[in-house]
Symmetry: C2
Subunit: 413 residues, 2 copies
Amino acid sequence: MTAPTLADLEALDAADPLATFREAFDLPPGVVYLDGNSLGALPRATAARLAEVVGRQWGSDLIRSWNTHGWIDAPQRVGDKIARLIGARTGEVVAADSTSVNLFKLLAGAASLRPGRSTLLTEPGNFPTDLYVTQGLERLLGDRLSIRVVAAEDLPGAIDEDVIAVSLTHVHYKSARRWPMAEITARAHAKGAVALWDLSHSAGALAVDLNGARADLAVGCGYKYLNGGPGAPAFLFVAERHQAEIRSPLTGWMGHADPFAFVDDYQPAAGIRRQLCGTPSILSLAALEVGVDLMLRADMAAVERKAGELSEAFIALVESRCAGLDLALASPRDAAARGAHVVFAHPQAYAIMQALIERGLIGDFRAPDLLRFGFTPLYTRYVDLFHAVETLRAVLAEVAYRDPRFRNRLSVT
Amino acid sequence: MTAPTLADLEALDAADPLATFREAFDLPPGVVYLDGNSLGALPRATAARLAEVVGRQWGSDLIRSWNTHGWIDAPQRVGDKIARLIGARTGEVVAADSTSVNLFKLLAGAASLRPGRSTLLTEPGNFPTDLYVTQGLERLLGDRLSIRVVAAEDLPGAIDEDVIAVSLTHVHYKSARRWPMAEITARAHAKGAVALWDLSHSAGALAVDLNGARADLAVGCGYKYLNGGPGAPAFLFVAERHQAEIRSPLTGWMGHADPFAFVDDYQPAAGIRRQLCGTPSILSLAALEVGVDLMLRADMAAVERKAGELSEAFIALVESRCAGLDLALASPRDAAARGAHVVFAHPQAYAIMQALIERGLIGDFRAPDLLRFGFTPLYTRYVDLFHAVETLRAVLAEVAYRDPRFRNRLSVT
């Protein structure tokens, strides 16, 4: 792709079917926010919604709101809405707990679906919590379960008949590399294993199709592309065909068949509700629901298309405007193999990101040397890319000017 | 105790050192709220605090707020504040996840402290989630661990050298019976077991003294007496002496020694932070912190004293004004053996509670036949008891009038 001009970008914004969504967010002036993949921006409707839930529901109606305002059903109600964003059916998703806790439920749950098997297969460099939670389960279960970590290129061939679950993040949090979900799931199924997908970096950014891919289990994050607020409840998905059989290890009262009977013996609820554990966080779910409702108004195919176009245009601009400034693309070049963010490596990435943030371009540093930029299709404009890359170029030029290693190269830009 | 008159109750309010706290809550008019032990009332400061966290911290400062507004430390900061309410030290408590999830962490954690032992000891009729979570852990660990459920009167004598942990709710959610924490903990220690206390019905209501009782582990609820809002984050306590050794089975990234190093291998953080799992829920923690800050301004000895006086006066009023109406006290009569709520049994308890709620007296029904009334010392006035008991009497009289079984008795009241 040739680098777009500012006029090109303005034309893309003018033709963007998602352009009006930006108005639904409360974005600070003077900032280009390319970090919605870490913390999504604030929907304008969230503050009023929270004020209503706090003031009227909690303050005035108090305990009665569990029934009269549907608090008790919130994890399922919000889950059903998220389901529509990720190719799942009603009754296959709940919004609850954190991604980490939900991973634990589903990894142990997967083991309950595949008795006699003992391997959880994943890749090195997966998002840390995915690895850590698996390691914690392995440690807890002693010799009954072991984690096997195989590099991405060898992983498909490493699925064997001892594998309980192939547990992968759909879009890699650093590189943005996208696993072919249907293909890997089919390879897992061919060996009798289940596929567990972490959608943290794809739900709300791509047109995820869990049932189209025959995925078995999934988890994902509420505070990134779903714009649910800092530490928003996460979600989990269990395909309908597994729901009667799978058991959660976290058998709190909200997953009981009849939680308000207050009986002594645990009896799992039917369907997805057995994946609930403790009392749901109503304020957090209310904020998350606003973000999800907003996302539901968008066509997810258009969202994925724009994510691809934004990141492609960004790469082209960076490679044209910042040539010779020591940046190296560390994401797949093919948009179809990538999520909605892009990373560039630079030996001084940490200092550069600090300088970018000071100048109002907010992205993320990821150790050891990555500059990460996320392109949230609902509120990122094409023209934002132009300003972002100009800021990046200015900072890189300054870094290069100060660094004797780059002194010569700078003279050519 | 003789039943107080309205004038007596007014005098008690006039002399109440906690009386001014009621102004700090936003209570609906025309309601006597005796259910703060199920969902605490809304502090007036909460709405503004949430608006600030949402609008300025999330909306304007976005991802930077993890550092600039102390989001990343919120679980420990709020935990340290809760510690001061329950006789714990700085660094012994975190606010995170749900009570159920925290129970799972600490029950499995207790097992890691007592290798070679296999029994988790509790009582029948404990709060359901406490039983269910223990059963879930037992099921997950197969023959390595078993739950033993022994009736309260036999429980102290049932602690033996196979017991990992004695796991009890300090104040029973139905009867309000209070376990003698120091005594039971000492009996556990005498057999080499640890004591795990669920403080859901005592934190914020009684002058809990975990370290005074030499308690080992504890969990508790943020949405009852701490007034943190519906489904507020819970908390957990690990005595300093166990922190280096105990392992959480839920090894999410926030419990890692260096979460932002993004390395592949889990290494538990030092101290209480290893009990964290996923990304903390910032909005919920902000609301909880308001409730905890308010509670910190009260003297906990005065809180416990008032809780006892309120419930004692309520019992006396009920037994005087509702005599012959088929109510039977189902809580301990001695305030020192009781928490801050009281239950009365009545064969038509469900219908009666519905009628009470319609008339603005909010308590709880607990199956099969209990009317539960909670006395939150920060916002319950002594005079509220008078109006509550008059409402109760009117409803009971109506029920009795409609029920041929009680026709004769009614004529005497």
